[in-house]
Amino acid sequence: MDQPRTDPDQELVKRTQSGAAAAFDELVIKYTPRLYGLVYNMTSNHEDTNDLLQDIFAKAYKAIRGFRGKSSFYTWIHSIAVNMTLNFLKKRGRRFQLSLDDVDASVQNDKEFLELTATSSPVREADLSELQRRLNEAMMKLSDEHRAVVTMFHIQGMPHAEISKILRVSEGTVRSRLFYANRQLQNYLDEFRKNPVS
């Protein structure tokens, strides 16, 4: 049986609730890179991500007095981020342009990347920017809800249980969304496999 764990952010949350704005700054610094990854991989647009992230933290700051600690701060702030991003994507619709961040050059040394280039011919033949564009296009063809699950599980490495808490759905729903999204991605990337340099 899982033992109830203490929230590592509890102290910072309490200090923020009692009016110490500097404590919230520490939470912002701590969670910005992680939430940036979440929102960016759901929107595939850097400018939208920046605006959304600012709004997410502003909303969290306003709402933190009402945070009673029923979930961890981590789950709470991720729920806010996912919900706000899903609402934003509904409003944005299909009219958008990819605005991708640069791929860090250190990817060339990544063990998994090296394995992929060694075993998969499409990855070996395509250059990095082409691979990035294809991946993002495939991601954007998924529904918003499926993309959220794929982002949290595959890119951010969250366990199913945590994703189910954030999305407030069952773990079974998370697994079935992942299964369906993987099939979809396989289909979309099949074109890339057949024609790696377009």
């Binding site: 910005t32 940036y36 933290f57 991708l100 990544d110 998969s120 991601m139 993987n182």
Partner: protein
């Protein structure tokens, strides 16, 4: 078969972690956050700032347990008590004006000759104020002038003598 399987897709997606914002982005994010908060605060009207402060104060107090029927009933009772106290503490002049007896004025011949040929004359009611405006103003300088319309209850009508 040269097809992306689940593990390959997972590995490909993990490479997306290497997509990073421009250098210095995370360092500047907090400054940008503070700047936007200040701008938002300056744009907001004063009443909204007060409302938000009050809301956050109430949220901090956690007054939800107080929001019950007994509390509401007690609040209504207190309000009623305050209002009734206010009503009973009205200025004395108002009560005097309300309680002053109506003035009856009869025509000059009402007591004297009464004949059946003459049309029945009803007692005339004076519709002028009991006191002139100037008198009233002199007596109650603080209170605004009040007018009292004379009215005669049925029991005040003079009995006719035959």
């Amino acid at each position: 078969m040269d097809e992306f399987d689940d593990s390959e897709i997972a590995r490909l997606l993990r490479l997306k972690r290497y997509e990073q914002p421009p250098p210095g982005y995370f360092e500047n994010f907090l400054h940008e956050f503070h700047r936007r908060q200040r701008d938002d605060l300056l744009r907001q009207p004063l009443w909204r700032i007060c409302l938000e402060r009050a809301h956050s104060f109430i949220t901090r107090l956690d007054v939800r347990p107080l929001a019950s029927y007994p509390t509401a009933a007690a609040a209504v009772f207190v309000c009623a008590a305050i209002i009734s106290l206010k009503i009973y503490q009205q200025p004395e002049t108002a009560r005097v004006a309300q309680q002053s007896p109506p003035t009856l004025s009869l025509p000059a011949n009402a007591e004297g000759e009464w004949n059946l040929a003459a049309p029945v004359s009803m007692p005339m009611l004076r519709t002028q104020p009991v006191r002139s405006f100037r008198e009233s103003a002199q007596t109650h300088r603080a209170a605004p002038p009040r007018y009292v319309l004379d009215s005669v209850p049925v029991s005040y009508e003079p009995t006719f003598r035959f």
